[in-house]
Symmetry: C2
Subunit: 227 residues, 2 copies
């Protein structure tokens, strides 16, 4: 009844469940204590598992750390692409749509558990594992920015925006939308829903102030109507 479609000979259930549990606990402890300060006993306790089980599953501390980062990277990237897919390509109200998009991106990818943990691990241990984080950089931000730049280019082509370099615009969009959250991020805090919304609103307004198409009076009028 439990394993449904997969009649594998592998131990089908709580084996894998424990692996996940260990990786989750390890992510939490590595973030809180740093790699050197992280204690396997503590990870095991937090995962509700014996220390030996941690070693059985992951070999040693370093392999466990790598598994944690890969896991976080994968989940974060998945979330990011899912969110990018919701970009307003044919906007009805560009300002509102961009704000909603920014809030989604923040809440689902940057402020959630995985996002915060991954960011902190990158900042703390990025220099020690260059290839590991280079991989993240290419798969994550690299593609994110390209994808977003392509969307902006499309909006520009459709006459909604007036943009010089779409890649620059994409990076500036992120920077603006998070402008008011940076200190909170720096100290590892979680911004409230309201802070996220305000930062996104202010950021998008400034973004459109710089990039909204001005040659067509109709477009400008529409943008201003919602201010």
């Amino acid at each position: 009844m439990k394993h449904g479609v997969s009649p594998d000979t592998f131990p089908p259930r709580s084996h894998e469940a424990k692996r996940v549990s260990v990786v989750d606990a390890a992510a939490s402890v590595f973030c809180r204590e740093g790699y050197a300060g992280a204690n396997i006993d503590l990870i095991a306790a937090e995962a509700g598992v014996s220390r030996q089980t941690v070693y059985n599953h992951h070999g040693d501390k370093e392999k466990l750390f790598v598994a944690v980062v890969r896991d976080l990277t994968e989940r974060c990237n998945a979330g990011i692409f899912a969110t990018i897919a919701s970009f307003p390509d044919q906007p009805t109200d560009l300002e509102a749509d961009l704000i909603a998009f920014a809030v989604r991106m923040n809440r689902n990818c940057i402020c959630n558990r995985d996002g915060r943990f991954l960011r902190k691990l990158i900042q703390a241990e990025g220099e020690r594992y260059p290839e590991l984080f280079a991989e993240w950089r290419e798969q994550g931000p690299g593609r994110t920015w390209s994808a977003l730049a392509a969307r902006f280019a499309r909006l520009a082509f459709a006459g909604h925006l007036s943009i010089g370099d779409p890649d620059v615009a994409a990076r500036q969009f992120f920077a603006l939308v998070n402008a008011e959250l940076q200190i909170t991020f720096m100290l590892g805090g979680v911004p409230t829903e309201e802070e996220v919304l305000r930062s996104a609103t202010n950021g998008v307004r400034t973004f459109l102030g710089a990039f909204a198409r001005r040659k067509s009076p109709a477009a400008k009028q529409a943008a201003l109507a919602h201010a």
Copy 2:
């Protein structure tokens, strides 16, 4: 001959020099290895000093860490205020002046040794020493933003800018000007002079695109003339 004006009874020279040397080495090691991973022997070796001397000067590891953070905070804040004092209040060429200001701020306060180290320590250990970093937050970013907001308000009053909330504009200015450097910062790298200049240029252009006063054709003309 060495101590010139101060005939104090205190050991006048290399005593203090060694204290500084130890704090500098400690900053470097704490950043590279994290608090838990930092090794007093390594700090002593990197400072060119015996381990005992480290303990003589600073008591224990935690006190040493606090001394490091206070030291970095103080120097960084001094640099930041010195740079803010160079803000172009009566600009001749607003775009060029703001770009130069942003580059100075970046090079002298954010990308230099102290700035990078302090940022990393805040990110890594900020949650463990709340009062220590709360102090930094108030004295540093808090005042920086206020000061910058006041300058922007003045520019707006003088008719150079069209700004809603000066505080928001100040935060967005920093965000825009660093938009292209975030990944580099995240991985602990040092951007090249050219990257800093490009990010500042793109950021200031977008900033002015959003906030440059548009009602006076002359101002707009002036701004565009240098694009």
